[in-house]
Amino acid sequence: MANKIPRVPVREQDPKVRATNFEEVCYGYNLEEAQLEASRCLHCKNPRCVAHCPVSIRIPDFIEQITKGDIARAAEIISEDSLLASVCGRVCPQENQCEGSCILGVKGESVAIGKLERFVGDWSHANGATKVNVAPSNGKRVAVIGSGPAGLACAADLAKAGCEVKIFEALHKAGGVLVYGIPEFRLPKDKIMAKEVEKVKALGVDIETDVIVGRTVTIDSLLDNEGYDAVFIGSGAGLPMFMGIPGENLNGVVSANEFLTRANLMHAYDPEYDTPIFKGGRTVVVGGGNVAMDAVRTAKRLGSDAFIVYRRSEEELPARKEEVHHAKEEGIEFRMLCNPLEIIGDENGVVRSVKCIRMELGEPDESGRRRPIPVEGSEFEIECDQVIMALGTSPNPLIASTTQGLETTRRGGIVANEVGATSRKGVFAGGDAVTGAATVILAMGAGRQAAKAILEYLAE
């Protein structure tokens, strides 16, 4: 019986060692392990995993090819629906999606779909690109804004359909949040990300970096002067939020975006690079999401004693279980049910401590989670040298504010319908720029959906 085999554990770097380096935490499966794990799939008649995948990857079909040893075919099956297998296999919240719905998970452990997807993605990087058919040119030109997951996915689908596609990237490197936000130890940049970007370029997609749409060019100038027939906005949610508490502008208080951008995009952890970053001391990270985990684990690797401060309990941590588990293994301290009231500085205006108050959980709020309530008189201080605010991000208003007739929501998101059409004809949008901060796979799904809608629009 296939389901008698326990889930094949994945090899990982020793926590004590990895807490001091930026090498990848998880080594992934080898062929033997992947085949054993793949053999656990029950090949359900109505696979719930597929229904719970935002891009409907034919999961049992690619898994079947792994058991047969035809990894090239498995890669082809995945690439029909996703072009970022190596990325999504690493960063998707599978426990809430495919794996969360796997029938084996009801009584035991679900199939490790994410690890299998990663295995296939990495295999195809190592063994030559998966063959992709590109349609002959249809004479249409599309501009894609942003080279994150939404933009890359949209650009790839449009290029496959025969469009001439150019991606405009504001930063100096393509990949969006996958290069500036997610750390090297979760998603290797040269080994994986650069190759994923190369795959998209191989379809004929051109990427121009250092172009800030809304400043260097505008959507109107792309449509009117540069001759693009349609535009896709996948500019993400890059604006960091702060708490608005006293002391937030002291030296040593940074947004998670700043800290991670310095470490990831600018390689500040590598002494060969010029960008500075704070190393050592004690670092408090405020927040409980995946970005908070990325920041705190990066701080740890830079030699800090690192803490998470979160106002609810561990139960409510929005970060993936795997990330929390990895963080704990690496020696991160979790201070749950406490909320910063003020950041206190020394005589030079450099962070000295965070003044917090203990919280308790009350009735559930509109998010369904129990509302944290301050416990009166429970204030205390955590001494530290650096405070990193990981409170979430919102869409950057730069594009919306410089484009005529582009509607936005109260929270700054671009208004788009279910296929990505905005209030402006010929302008489509998807991913975090529309929804606010969400996941890589949802952004990729939105990019693909919009590509379909753009092709229909261009055919009109």
Binding site: R215, E248, N257, T275
Partner: protein, 294 residues
């Protein structure tokens, strides 16, 4: 890659470079800045735009070699290329969008300190091209460190010079010269714009306040991306936190918290200093009484 079309040494540590950047040149307006990354290992550094020519597709920057990154950039030669040149960033100066009729009667006084003469130049030039002759004060330590006086003279109404040692023009600070122009020469202004070191902008703002003159300053804080993503450039204006990169760089100088800005400009020097101390104390086995070693 972006080619250095022209390089000129303005003073011993100030260099002018004209960069081939057609997109930036076509979009640039007075008051905006660029982010430059010299090579693959370089920092992203914000630099003000000193001039731009859409027809030639070139943008001029003026760099003072003070840190390791600016020194690295200044070591590049004419004909070399730099990795990245992104912009224009930030909002253009307010007057660019003002009603030309209302603008025509406005009497501007620009106060430029040190390398701040570079970003003042395109503003004065733009006004001149629109029929407005603005007065300009350039302040410098001495005649040798003063830059862009000749170009400025060609586009300004009156150009006044102030040097600390009196080796050119008025002997003293720009604020002293500013007071003299207003009080002794009876000059009248409707708008003061100050660009230069934070300490200078702080005192020009105070002087402008003394004469009830509106004052605009251009902030040049630490930045990483320059597009609103990192928040390193936080500036407190009128008690509120603003991102200088996307909401500035120009703000109402009477409302800027300059003391905080000066402190924030040394952020990484402070943190490096603290990191060094902690490492030293740890190495020495010292038990820190204030908890830095925990």
């Amino acid at each position: 890659m972006f080619k250095i079309l022209e390089k000129k040494q303005l003073t011993t540590d100030i260099t002018l470079m004209r960069i081939d950047a057609p997109r930036v040149a076509a979009a640039a307006k007075p008051g905006q800045f660029v982010i430059v990354r010299v090579d693959e290992k370089g920092e992203r550094i914000p630099l003000t735009i000193a001039d731009y020519d859409a027809a030639q597709g070139s943008v001029t920057i003026v760099i003072q070699a003070i840190g390791s990154s600016t020194k690295k950039l200044c070591a590049y030669a004419e004909g070399d290329s730099i990795c990245d040149f992104a912009g224009p960033l930030g909002h253009p100066s307010e007057f660019v969008a003002e009603d030309p009729a209302a603008l025509a009667d406005k009497r501007f006084l620009f106060v430029a300190g040190g390398v701040g003469a570079a970003p003042v130049y395109p503003q004065v030039k733009w006004l001149s091209e629109h029929g407005i002759k603005a007065d300009v004060i350039i302040g410098a330590k001495n005649a040798e460190t003063m830059i862009m006086a000749d170009q400025m003279r060609a586009v300004a109404g009156n150009l006044y010079i102030a040097t600390d040692d009196g080796s050119a023009g008025y002997k003293g600070l720009v604020t002293g010269l500013m007071s003299e122009l207003i009080e002794k020469e009876g000059k009248q202004y409707d708008q003061v714009v100050a660009i230069g070191p934070l300490i200078m902008m702080k005192f020009v703002a105070l002087t402008a306040g003394k004469y009830s003159l509106p004052i605009i300053v251009s902030m040049n804080p630490l930045m990483v991306d320059g597009t609103g993503m990192c928040g390193a450039c936080r500036v407190t204006v009128d008690g509120k936190t603003r991102f200088a990169c996307v909401e500035g760089p120009e703000f109402d100088g009477s409302k800027v918290d300059f003391d905080e800005a000066m402190r924030r400009s040394r952020q990484y020097r402070d943190l490096e200093e603290r990191a060094r101390k902690i490492a030293e104390e740890r190495a020495a086995g010292h038990k820190c009484k204030i908890g830095l070693d925990k």
